[in-house]
């Protein structure tokens, strides 16, 4: 009997404390600075074009084979790259968010974005094309392979930056 009452007292104690529950869709939880959401393509603001040179290393290193890309000859001459991506698809329905594509990228052209809300009625919408990947990568800076900034951490990302 004592044990049962102990459980009741525990319940009563919890009833009087502040709940830890968050009403998720209405109240967004904080995301950590290292949070790995969907992979995104980075945009080079200096020359106003995508950083990627279509070397295909990310696609070959992907454990889920979810990246497909095709390259094109680069003729603009703004940078000294030989190729530029023509099409770039990531099937986020297959992606396992492991971050290997970002780790192996020799040109720092991609980064895991904080984008993770993928609920949809049609799974084909999970195949993100080049423009969508650039869109979710806006405002994301490359941090993989770079030393951690000295001083206080950039901290928890503001939930309003989710896309």
């Amino acid at each position: 009997m004592r044990g049962v009452l102990g459980g009741f007292f525990q319940t009563l104690k919890s009833f009087l404390t502040k709940p830890v529950t968050r009403l998720y869709p209405y109240e967004k939880p904080p995301l950590e600075a290292r949070f790995m959401g969907a992979p995104s393509l980075l945009w080079d603001d200096a020359v106003d074009e995508v950083v990627c040179v279509a070397c295909n290393i990310c696609a070959r290193s992907c454990p889920d084979d979810c990246i497909t890309l095709t390259g094109d000859k680069y003729t603009d001459g703004k940078t000294n790259k030989k190729n530029i991506i023509k099409d770039y698809f990531i099937d986020l329905g297959r992606c396992s968010y492991c971050g290997i594509c970002v780790e192996v990228c020799p040109f720092d052209a991609n980064e895991m974005s904080p984008h993770f809300e993928l609920s949809t009625y049609d799974r084909m919408t999970l195949v993100y094309d080049k423009d969508q990947l650039i869109e979710i990568g806006r405002g994301v800076t490359r941090r993989t392979g770079k030393p951690e900034p000295v001083g206080p951490l950039p901290g928890i990302l503001d939930p309003s930056t989710y896309r």
Binding site: M1, R2, G3, V4, G6, G7, F9, Q10, T11, K13, S14, V20, L31, E32, A33, R34, F35, M36, R60, S61, P63, D64, S96, Y97, C98, G99, I100, E103, V104, M112, T144, E148, P152, L153
Partner: protein, 390 residues
């Protein structure tokens, strides 16, 4: 007192075992699972019942088979890194512990040394994973034995640990954080404070866990004396982890065959006496406290320095094989790797999963009990079907 007398009255009016034997019953075969919430995934039991007693049980596994081992061998480039992704997803509750075993096997194969700091961080995160996994057991076992509230308490603590994993490795369940030779990146600056905060919180949480069901009479009557597995039988079956320790054998790979730097820490290996479901529960509760002890010691000694050893960028280990075993949250987890010396993916990957072996003891536990107790006995094994089927 009213409840106690009501329980007593129910006991008196219920038919005793001898009366039950006298009733004419027909054997019945029922199918439990694969889509049954108390089978912890997609496990199927075909139960032969006599009345409400289990006469025979036939287990069917393989519904969650994803070919994790074969996928681990199939990487064209970066194969050693890819294999860990699928390993993470086999035992999704102790992913970082399994990563530890895997990277240790690769390090043994390729002769890579690991810096001190990385070893300490691996220990801290590994023990947090163990707490995380035992929390899940606590919640699920409560639900199996008829109490749904423990889930809420268990997940409040799990949430904090997973938040730390997100801060450290970027993902809550599959951080993919360890690398052969060290870690992917150093921990955040506030790592020590955050782990300390979790330790402080965990002590209260464990007390809450205890207050809630450990001494609860209903829980005791559901679990005590149920699913007894004696020591000789357990050893015959090759059972490991809390199941084996509940039979009274203090066998823990961390202690009996220390890997990594576990020989530097003081911790107790809790053992039981009878080997019933309740003792398995108590042992896991105690193990969580012991994990906290290890984390406290590791945090105190956490050295500075590099987090990556002499690992080459493109891993291509020489021809050979390596077997590494660790104490997973469920038992003795082993990784066997064979390298052919040419390719950048392992030639053969084999995981020795404790869940699969521990599940063999189900027949010994369940036969002769009530069907409702079969669910509790299955819950006390703490299986993860992803690891059973791989």
């Amino acid at each position: 007192m009213a409840i106690a007398s009501a329980i007593n009255m129910l006991r008196e009016t219920a038919p005793s075992v001898s009366e039950e034997r006298n009733l004419e019953t027909v054997e019945m075969t029922i199918n439990m699972g694969p889509q049954h919430p108390s089978t912890h995934g997609v496990f199927r039991m075909v139960l032969t019942l006599e009345g409400e007693r289990v006469k025979n049980v036939q287990s069917h596994i393989g519904y969650l088979h994803r070919g994790a081992e074969k996928l681990g061998e199939s990487g064209e480039i970066e194969g050693y890194r890819k294999a860990m992704i699928t390993l993470d997803r086999t035992d999704y509750l102790s992913s970082l512990l399994n990563e530890h075993a895997y990277v240790m096997a690769v390090e043994k194969l390729a002769g890579i040394s690991v810096p001190e700091r990385a070893e300490y961080i691996r220990i801290i995160l590994g023990e947090l994973t163990r707490i995380n996994s035992h929390c899940m057991f606590y919640g699920a076992f409560g639900a199996d034995s008829g109490a749904t509230t423990p889930y809420m308490y268990a997940f409040a603590l799990r949430e904090e640990i997973q938040q730390l994993f997100e801060a450290v490795g970027g993902a809550r369940m599959f951080p993919n954080y360890y690398r052969a030779g060290g870690l992917r990146e150093d921990v955040p600056h506030d790592f020590v404070h955050r782990v300390q905060a979790i330790i402080d919180r965990a002590f209260y949480a464990f007390d809450d866990f205890d207050n809630l069901i450990t001494a609860n009479e209903i829980f005791l009557s559901r679990t005590r004396g149920l699913g007894i597995l004696d020591q000789t039988r357990a050893l015959d079956l090759g059972v490991s982890g809390p199941l084996l320790r509940a039979t009274g054998l203090p066998y823990d790979v961390r202690r009996s065959e220390p890997y990594s730097i576990y020989d530097r820490f003081a911790f107790d290996v809790p053992v039981g006496t009878t080997g019933d479901c309740y003792e398995r529960y108590l042992i896991r509760q105690e193990e969580m406290r012991q994990s906290i002890r290890i984390i406290e010691q590791a945090l105190k000694d956490l050295p500075g320095g590099p987090i990556m050893g002499n690992a080459p960028k493109a891993l291509r280990p020489p021809k050979g094989e390596a077997y590494v075993r660790i104490e997973n949250s469920r038992g003795d987890f082993g990784v066997y790797l064979v390298s052919d010396g040419k390719s950048s993916a392992p030639y053969r990957v084999k995981y020795r999963s404790p869940c699969f072996v521990n599940l063999q003891s189900l027949n010994d536990m369940v036969i002769g009990t009530y069907i409702a107790d079969a669910v509790v006995a299955l819950g006390s094994i703490d299986i993860v079907l992803g690891e059973v089927d791989r």
